[in-house]
């Protein structure tokens, strides 16, 4: 009888003093299941659950982990004050040196970003940055709001990051003036390394916008000790390539224009009058009837693929038809006057081939495929 009573007492005692480590482990797990939901209200509940576990005593191996998780979620939810409080708890408990080091770094990062005085500015910056970079909707409202935020808070330590977001955002929106204004502001006002990075971005943007002279000036203003030399070298190479391509484009454009006018003049001479040439040009030559369906078909086939390539195929088709039209008309005009010599036909053919090559180059450059072609050549093709 006494033995049974003792056994019962032991059992009751064991149930009453459940293992605090095991309890904390289970509580941590439960909070974790709430934390992954993604829904802000549930995440908020998870933070509260972690805070409760962190405050519970005795301290278990999960106490500091609970505060670390609370801090992580709070920072992600842009509640920096709450994150700061949780991180301070990790430091205070201080049992896991890895967690402590991480908490110290996170605190330093939050402080570097301005401390409590800038919590609201930072939260708004984060929100607007995600709208600018992330959304497919019209970001102009977010861009305007972020611009105002930066101008109202010039001492905000991350203003430079915001300026860069503004520059890239306005560039994507096609507002060159605003884009360049913010690039310039970021280059001038950033902490030195970040400012130089912004200037390098500015050089790249100017090159993209074909403002090559300005790009050259900005490249020269780059502080070589503060910026990635490979990046600067590549920016310089890109600029030089842009100059070369521009010269080539202008040269080919002029050549095509001269050849086109020359062909028309030649046809007029053969037909005797501009009026006759006009009448001839209105009726497409046989080459056009041959090429037009082919060009249409190819454009259709290219449609579902890479949009740049589809655009290139379309424009190459247009150029081909124009060249064929002019070529056919001039050849017919010549034939109408006298039989065409083999030499004349050969020259004609070579000029047409040259024009087609020039037109293809101009189209590829115009749709922005040159870099892709060059990269494919240098880096090998993607696998599919």
């Amino acid at each position: 009888m006494t033995r049974l009573a003792v056994a019962l007492l032991v059992l009751v005692a064991r149930i009453a003093s459940a293992d605090p480590e095991a309890d904390a482990d289970a509580a941590f797990k439960r909070a974790g299941q709430l934390a992954v939901s993604g829904d802000p209200a549930t995440v908020n509940t998870a933070i509260a659950a972690y805070e409760q576990l962190g405050s519970a005593r005795p301290i278990t191996r999960w106490t500091d982990d609970a505060w670390a998780e609370a801090a992580r979620l709070a920072e992600f939810s842009r509640d920096y004050a709450r994150a700061r409080r949780a991180l301070e708890q990790v430091l205070e408990i201080g049992t896991d040196d890895r967690l402590v080091a991480r908490a110290r770094a996170a605190l330093a990062r939050i402080e570097e970003e301005g401390g409590p005085a800038f919590d609201a500015v930072r939260a708004e910056h984060e929100r607007l940055a995600s709208e600018i970079y992330g959304t497919d909707d019209d970001p102009t409202a977010a861009l305007t709001a972020l611009g105002a935020l930066v101008e109202q808070n010039p001492t905000y330590p991350r203003a430079n990051a915001a300026r860069l977001a503004l520059a890239l955002g306005w560039e994507a929106e096609g507002d060159r003036g605003e884009a360049m204004r913010w690039f310039r502001a970021a280059a001038e006002a950033g902490r030195r390394e970040r400012g130089q990075h912004a200037r390098l971005e500015y050089v790249r943007a100017l090159t993209r916008a074909a403002d090559l002279a300005e790009a050259e000036t900005e490249l020269a203003a780059l502080d070589p000790t503060l910026v990635d030399s490979a990046g600067a070298r590549q920016a310089a190479e890109k600029l030089e390539t842009a100059y070369q391509r521009r010269r080539l484009r202008i040269g080919l454009g002029i050549a095509l224009l001269v050849i086109g006018i020359g062909a028309l003049a030649l046809a007029r001479r053969d037909l005797g009058s501009w009026r006759a040439l006009g009448a001839k040009l209105i009726r497409p030559p046989i080459e056009v009837w041959f090429l037009l369906p082919l060009a249409l078909l190819l454009s259709l086939v290219a449609l579902p693929g890479n949009p740049l390539i589809a655009r290139a195929v379309r424009w190459i088709g247009v150029a081909g038809v124009v060249i064929a039209w002019l070529s056919g008309t001039t050849l017919e005009a010549a034939r109408a006057k006298a039989p065409v010599s083999a030499r004349r036909a050969l020259t004609h053919g070579l000029v047409v081939v040259g024009c087609v090559a020039a037109a293809v180059y101009l189209v590829v450059a115009y749709v922005g495929l040159l870099d892709l072609l060059e990269e494919t050549w240098r880096g090998g093709p993607a696998m599919d």
Binding site: F28, R61, R109, S130, Y133, Q196, D228, G380, M383
Partner: protein, 437 residues
């Protein structure tokens, strides 16, 4: 070998065309070689184009100052690490590591010493590049060590790096509350100013391991971009081991395999770290038919071996699922490797190659699932500096944006989260989180 690679090799690098050994300062660079690493239980094998590895000797070149100090993993990260470096002269043969248990110790307290090994490789258009490695094994799990690398010449002159601190992977049996943090980043090629900013952002988040998804440089055979890559990353890489997947721009170059110490054959392997197992694959083999053959088998073997791991990650360079308008999804890789991802219920697949950020919905066999359970999420984060590509959206896309980016993946016993951020430090709003019962 693919035609493009072959062309590149023919044009640029005799080193990658098998055949004649290369003459190097009178030494013969043979077809690599193998050295047993004392106390570690594994071999170090160098590639064709590099010398066979050998123990360092007490010889200084004109400037023996160590540089590009970075850590790698070849054994169990709980108990081992590889420190790797070069010297400014690339001639020095003296090679050793001094270390001791404890974080941020003064140099005088680094009482343990281990001899290093050296081997040189030839990079296109450059002098010989000489790599030093020191392999530490038998370390304690979850423990900080201070170390410096360098050497001593015959006259007793010393030349050492600054003291750095690393930490071994935790023992999750003894510490079920262990959290490990992986920095995840890729495609730095040609954009090292952005790379630098991301390295700073990653350092602020104190990762335990860096997962790099490939395309560190524009052409793996040329050295000058490697210099930028390692120069800028040294403050982080000297403290945190690097695990890398081979990217198409690395073109299977001897530079890649010589400078980054990795387990197994350095192409298809696995690493256990904390509660995670990371399988790594090379999706740009020298012979494309290996993808669905030899490489698939190796990846399958690693996934089978680690099937009981709590969390499973799979990192390779080119995405199976990407909505970017540049490369987009890879049917070839879906055919070759997706069945393994489904069979072994990989939690997270990590890719780069498309220079944007994209995270997929949970998927099984190309079908979007309502929940994460047993399904796989695919992440593209190829935004470490290479010129950005346009992002896009397809049926699998949960979120995408066109920004420079990196991410941290936090792994605990019952939950794994990923938070991505931009190079300006702002948070990308859509990450990943999953818990397991």
């Amino acid at each position: 070998m693919r035609p493009a690679t072959l062309l590149l090799c023919l044009a640029l690098a005799p080193a990658c065309v098998k055949g004649n050994p290369i003459e190097l300062d009178g030494d013969l660079l043979t077809e690599g070689g193998t050295l047993r690493i004392d106390g570690c239980g594994y071999d170090l094998t160098t590639r064709y184009g590099a010398e066979a590895p050998r123990p360092g000797t007490a010889v200084f070149g004109p400037d023996p100052t160590p540089r590009h100090v970075h850590l790698g993993i070849m054994g169990d990260p709980k108990t081992s690490v590889v420190a790797q470096w070069r010297t400014k002269d690339d001639k020095t043969l003296a090679s050793e590591i001094r270390y001791a248990k404890g974080a941020s110790l003064p140099a005088a307290d680094l009482v343990e010493e281990k001899a290093g090994i050296v081997f040189a490789y030839r990079s296109t258009g450059a002098e010989e590049i000489r790599v030093h490695q020191a392999h530490l094994c038998g370390l304690e799990p979850g423990t900080s060590y201070s170390y410096q690398v360098g050497g001593t010449d015959l006259d007793g002159a010393k030349s050492y790096s600054p003291v750095y601190t690393f930490r071994t992977a935790p023992d999750t049996v003894a510490h079920p509350d262990s959290e490990v943090v992986f920095g995840f980043v890729g495609d730095s090629r040609g954009g090292y100013d952005v790379w630098q900013l991301l390295i700073d952002e990653l350092s602020d988040r104190q990762p335990d391991l860096i997962l790099f998804s490939g395309d560190a440089v524009t052409i793996g055979l040329t050295q000058y971009e490697w210099e930028e890559f390692f120069d800028r990353a040294e403050p982080l890489f000297a403290r945190v081991p690097l695990v890398s997947a081979h990217g198409n721009h690395e073109v299977n170059a001897v530079n890649y395999f010589s400078q980054i110490a990795l387990p197994g054959d350095q192409e298809n392997f696995g690493v256990d770290y904390g509660f995670a197992h990371i399988t790594v694959g090379n999706d740009t083999p020298d012979d494309i038919s290996k993808l669905a053959g030899e490489f698939k088998d190796k990846i399958a073997a690693d996934m089978a071996k680690s099937n009981s791991a709590r969390w499973k990650l799979f990192m390779h360079h080119q995405p199976m699922f990407s909505a970017s308008t540049r490369h987009g999804p890879s049917q070839t890789l879906q055919d070759a490797w997706l069945p393994l991802v489904d069979q072994y219920k990989i939690d997270l697949v990590l890719n780069g190659h498309d220079h944007d950020y994209e995270i997929s919905r949970p998927m099984i066999n190309k079908q979007v699932q309502a929940t994460n359970d047993n399904a796989t999420v695919f992440v593209v984060a190829g935004g470490a500096g290479a010129e950005l590509y346009d992002n896009g959206s397809d049926y699998w896309t949960l979120y995408s944006e066109k920004t420079y980016n990196a991410a941290v993946i936090r792994v605990r016993r019952d939950q794994m989260t990923m938070e991505a951020f931009r190079h300006d430090g702002t948070q990308i709003p859509q990450g990943f989180s999953k818990s397991k019962p």
